[in-house]
């Protein structure tokens, strides 16, 4: 009799049932399910942004390198402008095209407006830089938000899951570990998903915001240099 009872207890103590990820998800409370789905969606979106940014930044860097090599190759700025103006330009090329356009417009017509041309060119280039930066930094804030909020969302799912799990324990009037464990495992799964979404987001946000700052300073450096070149040209023309 005693040994029978004991055998039953040992059987109960063995882990029971399917506890795969999928089963954990299906067994969870509806709120926890929504949290999990939201976190998975956030993770998908984050990774989409990460991939997108990686491609964009790589492309931008490559374009800048190519443009700089072409620009400093001694080629005529007029020729360069003619080849570039028909394209949809980005980053440095866009800067160059914007400045050149302003330059050309100022020299068009009977009366060249050279007096404040330098200021106009600077302003145009500033505007272009800020537009380019906006393009580069677009959606990086999503990464930041997911990175900071996803753990809390996951924690909310966990707290909710543990809460319902304790309610279930209270209802079943049984504190056996097999009753307690699945609910808590389910609940913790939500935190795991939150961290899975948040960690890459935080890393990517730091990486790409730093990279955007670097690209921005590079563009500003080019803008200053180009502005100096144009300024020299303007001075030469006004004196001559």
């Amino acid at each position: 009799m005693i040994s029978e009872a004991f055998a039953q207890t040992t059987e109960l103590a063995a882990p029971a049932g399917d506890i795969s990820f999928f089963a954990l998800f299906l067994g969870a409370h509806i709120v926890v399910k929504i949290v999990m789905l939201g976190l998975i969606a956030a993770s998908v979106w984050c990774w989409a942004i990460i991939v997108d940014k990686q491609l964009l930044f790589t492309r931008t860097r490559r374009q800048m390198n190519r443009f700089e090599s072409v620009f400093w190759s001694g080629q005529s700025l007029e020729d360069l402008y003619q080849t570039l103006v028909s394209r949809a330009n980005t980053s440095m090329a866009a800067l160059f095209v914007a400045a050149m356009r302003e330059w050309k417009r100022s020299h068009e017509g009977k009366k060249p407006a050279i007096a404040s041309l330098q200021q106009r060119i600077d302003r145009v280039m500033d505007v272009t830089i800020s537009r380019e930066m906006e393009r580069l930094e677009n959606r990086l804030l999503v990464l930041a938000t997911v990175g900071s909020a996803a753990p809390f969302v996951g924690l909310f799912g966990t707290v909710w899951g543990i809460m319902t799990s304790f309610q279930a324990i209270a209802a079943s009037k049984n504190t056996n570990l097999t009753v307690v464990a699945p609910g808590i495992a389910e609940a913790l799964f939500a935190t795991a998903l939150g961290l899975v979404a948040a960690i890459p987001a935080v890393i990517a946000y730091n990486k790409y915001s730093a990279e955007a700052t670097r690209l921005s300073s590079r563009m500003e450096g080019f803008a200053d240099e180009f502005s100096a070149i144009l300024s020299r040209q303007i001075d030469e023309r006004t004196q001559g």
Binding site: S3, F6, T10, P15, S20, V51
Partner: protein, 331 residues
């Protein structure tokens, strides 16, 4: 942006799929099958009713008690006035460990008194030379004796090696004939061995036996003897709990030292004899009320089921339940 989204979706799908394959389910901990644990219900009586043991006793018989301190008059047998009635009972342990018997020191010189510092004053007599010379008749004698007293005689001084005091025991008189019959049969089955026989021989001159001797050698036990009769702790607890079940009083913050001591006599068939008496008093203002409630509780127990749940063989004697002194503590 579409590229990123597609790549991300594909990546997540791959990771989820890989997760389903790589972690299909948690690995169960390898739980060693636990053998059914045999559980013995040990009565607390053995703990609360330990008897004094002997530290010098051998470990082979650890639970055997030390013989009682007070000698008990054993009825003399007219048919063999010289024999100590307990000597015969000693054969049992000797049989179980014949080696020990053989190791026992040779009988002491005749003039030397018993080494035991006990009030037992019989000097250890010299070994009987006659029996050593003729072992066979002695053995023949053994079964005959067993008719009335259990077993063949065995020298008293075989045991002192491990037990300095000559054992006496009150229960010797209670040896039942069936047991002795059995023992005798075993004895008859034994092989004939002259060496062993000589050890078993009675080397003590027969004389008027006054004391009973324990049939078991002293064992390792408690250093303090508790009374042998009377109720065990668990039985007392049962009694007190039965009374407390019926003890009705208004709960209060009772002083911690509030105890109601009630004495009552019981008849042999488990009923109250007379009225329970309250034996103590307390400055607590409601003490009288609570104590009288306790008395009523005892009477209620008597009326409903009586006290016959107490073991009958513990009725008599000094600590028996013919008189019960109950310390009742309100919760």
């Amino acid at each position: 942006m579409r590229t990123g989204l597609v790549v991300s979706l594909i990546g997540h799908a791959v990771v989820l799929f890989w997760g389903l394959i790589a972690f299909p389910s948690a690995q169960p901990f390898s739980v060693e099958p636990v053998d059914a644990l045999p559980v013995d219900l040990v009565p607390i009586e053995e703990v609360t009713k330990t008897r004094v043991g002997d530290k010098t006793a051998s470990k082979d018989n650890p639970s055997a008690p030390k013989p009682a301190d007070k000698p008990v008059e054993a009825p003399k047998k007219a048919s063999d006035p010289g024999k100590k009635p307990t000597e015969s009972a000693k054969a049992a342990p000797a049989k179980s460990e014949p080696k020990k018997v053989a190791e026992a020191p040779p009988p002491e010189p005749p003039a030397e008194p018993d080494p035991a510092p006990e009030p037992a004053k019989e000097p250890e007599p010299a070994p009987e030379p006659q029996t050593e010379a003729e072992p066979a008749p002695a053995q023949e004698e053994a079964p005959k004796e067993a008719e009335k007293a259990p077993e063949p005689p065995k020298p008293v001084n075989v045991v002192p090696q491990s037990k300095p005091t000559p054992p006496r025991r009150t229960q010797t008189a209670a040896l039942d004939p069936a047991k002795t019959q059995n023992a005798r049969e075993q004895e008859e089955e034994k092989k004939f061995d002259p060496n062993e026989i000589s050890n078993l021989l009675n080397k003590v001159k027969p004389e008027g036996g006054e004391r009973t001797v324990s049939e078991e050698p002293a064992g390792l036990g408690a250093t303090r003897a508790t009374q042998q009769q009377g109720l065990s702790a668990s039985q007392l607890d049962l009694l007190v709990s039965k009374i407390k079940e019926r003890w009705n009083y208004v709960p209060d913050a009772f002083p911690p030292d509030l105890v109601v001591v009630v004495q009552f006599e019981l008849t042999r068939d488990g009923h109250l004899a007379g009225t329970p008496r309250i034996m103590n008093s307390n400055p607590y203002p409601r003490f009288r009320q609570i104590a009288e409630a306790a008395v009523r509780a005892i009477i209620a127990v008597d009326r409903s089921e009586g006290f016959s749940f107490l073991p009958r063989d513990r009725y008599d004697g000094n600590g028996g339940w013919n008189t019960v002194l109950a310390n009742l503590k309100p919760q």
